[in-house]
């Protein structure tokens, strides 16, 4: 209570004290304009995303990009695309290779896939994935933070 009573009297921003009557230099206007543009960009984009962005759960597609034979197995480079409207963390992706004897499974964990974004990784197989039938999918994820 006491603080509220005292505050207004002191906080007057000294309006009748134009100690520097000259107008601000041009550079000040320019930098303020750039700052305003930055602020509007940031706020505008975030607001647009907050109001219009959809909140659908992560929908993760895993697709094969390229297979490279290496001395340490066949490296299948894959891409995980999150088509959903929210981000996913610790995404476990799995590839099952069948058609050459028993099925062979390889998996990897991708740290973080933001909404509508794409992250790549690799799965390593003993047999050539191009020769068999490769099924790729995301097994699960944690909600981001």
């Amino acid at each position: 209570m006491a603080t509220a009573k005292r505050a207004p009297a002191r906080r007057k921003p000294a309006p009748a004290k134009p100690s520097s009557p000259n107008a601000p230099p041009l550079l000040e206007w320019i930098s303020a304009a750039i700052g305003l543009a930055c602020a509007l960009t940031a706020i505008g984009f975030v607001a647009w995303d907050a109001v219009l962005g959809e909140r659908s759960p992560p929908a993760i597609e895993v697709r094969l990009v390229e297979v490279t034979p290496t001395p340490h197995g066949f490296v299948a480079q894959v891409e995980a695309v999150n088509h959903g409207g929210s981000s996913a963390a610790q995404v476990a992706i799995e590839g099952v290779l069948s058609g050459q004897g028993g099925p062979e499974t390889a998996q990897a964990t991708l740290d973080y896939i933001p909404q509508r974004s794409r992250v790549s990784g690799g799965l390593v197989f003993e047999h050539d994935p191009r020769a068999g039938r490769l099924t790729l999918r995301a097994k699960g994820f944690a909600d981001a933070s």
């Binding site: 921003p13 975030v46 933001p114």
Partner: protein
């Protein structure tokens, strides 16, 4: 043209200050992932709140010795621009931005989140790295509300450097109730001692006038209250409180209020 040159120097100082104050955050991994993951409405609220805060800060410690509203608005906007551009450039250099396949929103979130501490640094730099002491007259103007505002900014500023890290949650998990109470007592004690006993430069001597108890009730207690509120707000913004049991939220707030209290105490030194 001379005024432009002087302003250019002030602007360069502002960039220096923003760099000094925001690089620890720019080089923290959690800031990047939080920039993408923070709920957009909370990020929006944070950005919208930051503008009046910068305006207030510019009033007390702008990078130019001004008092007029127009100049303060210009300074606050320029400071936001400095923080934003600096965060954008540095994050791009660190390879955080423009990662292949990531959406524009993700990049923008990272830059926007890092822009605010940079902007505070830009405004504070005017005082810290300035030649003269243009803000001596402003200092006397700070009334009780102004004092509390400055404490809040100091608290936000220091707490922000650790609030995004996982360690805040980890520390809260590790602490028992007794330790939480101890940390609280320590925070209050340090706040009191730092501001009113140690004689740091910028300390307000007139606070002593009312005696120790008056000082404690009038300034230390509100200071710690401000630290707690700022901590809780930051934790909420970063989504750390979602679905967490109330006592765990309380412990996290107390943990974060420790740096926040130090920030509030040293607001006068920094800001």
């Amino acid at each position: 043209m001379d005024a432009n040159a002087a302003y250019g120097r002030a602007l360069a100082r502002a960039f220096g200050g923003a760099l000094l104050f925001s690089f620890p955050l720019l080089m923290t991994m959690e800031m990047w992932s939080l920039g993408m993951a923070v709920e957009r409405t909370r990020l929006l609220a944070f950005l919208l709140l930051s503008l009046p805060m910068l305006l207030g800060l510019s009033y007390y410690a702008g990078f130019e010795p001004t008092f007029r509203l127009r100049d303060e608005v210009l300074d606050a906007l320029a400071a936001f621009g400095v923080g934003f551009l600096l965060a954008g450039v540095l994050l791009a250099v660190f390879g955080v931005l423009f990662r292949q396949g990531l959406s524009l929103q993700a990049d923008l979130g990272k830059v926007a989140l890092c822009a605010v501490p940079g902007a505070i640094g830009a405004l504070v730099a005017g005082k810290q790295l300035g030649e003269g002491a243009p803000s001596t007259h402003e200092k006397e103007r700070a009334g009780t509300l102004g004092e509390i505002f400055l404490m809040a900014v100091g608290a936000l500023f220091l707490a922000f450097t650790v609030a995004p890290t996982e360690e805040m949650i980890l520390i809260a998990y590790q602490m028992g109730p007794l330790q939480a109470l101890l940390l609280m007592a320590l925070s209050v004690l340090l706040l009191h001692v730092f501001v009113y006993r140690l004689g740091f430069p910028g300390e307000s001597r007139r606070r002593e006038a009312g005696g120790a108890l008056r000082t404690f009730v009038g300034f230390t207690a509100p200071g710690y209250g401000v630290a707690l509120v700022v901590s809780l707000y930051l934790l909420w913004t970063f989504g750390r409180t979602d679905g967490v049991a109330p006592h765990e939220i309380a412990t996290m707030t107390i943990v974060l209020a420790f740096p926040a209290a130090l920030g509030a105490a040293t607001a006068r030194l920094v800001v």
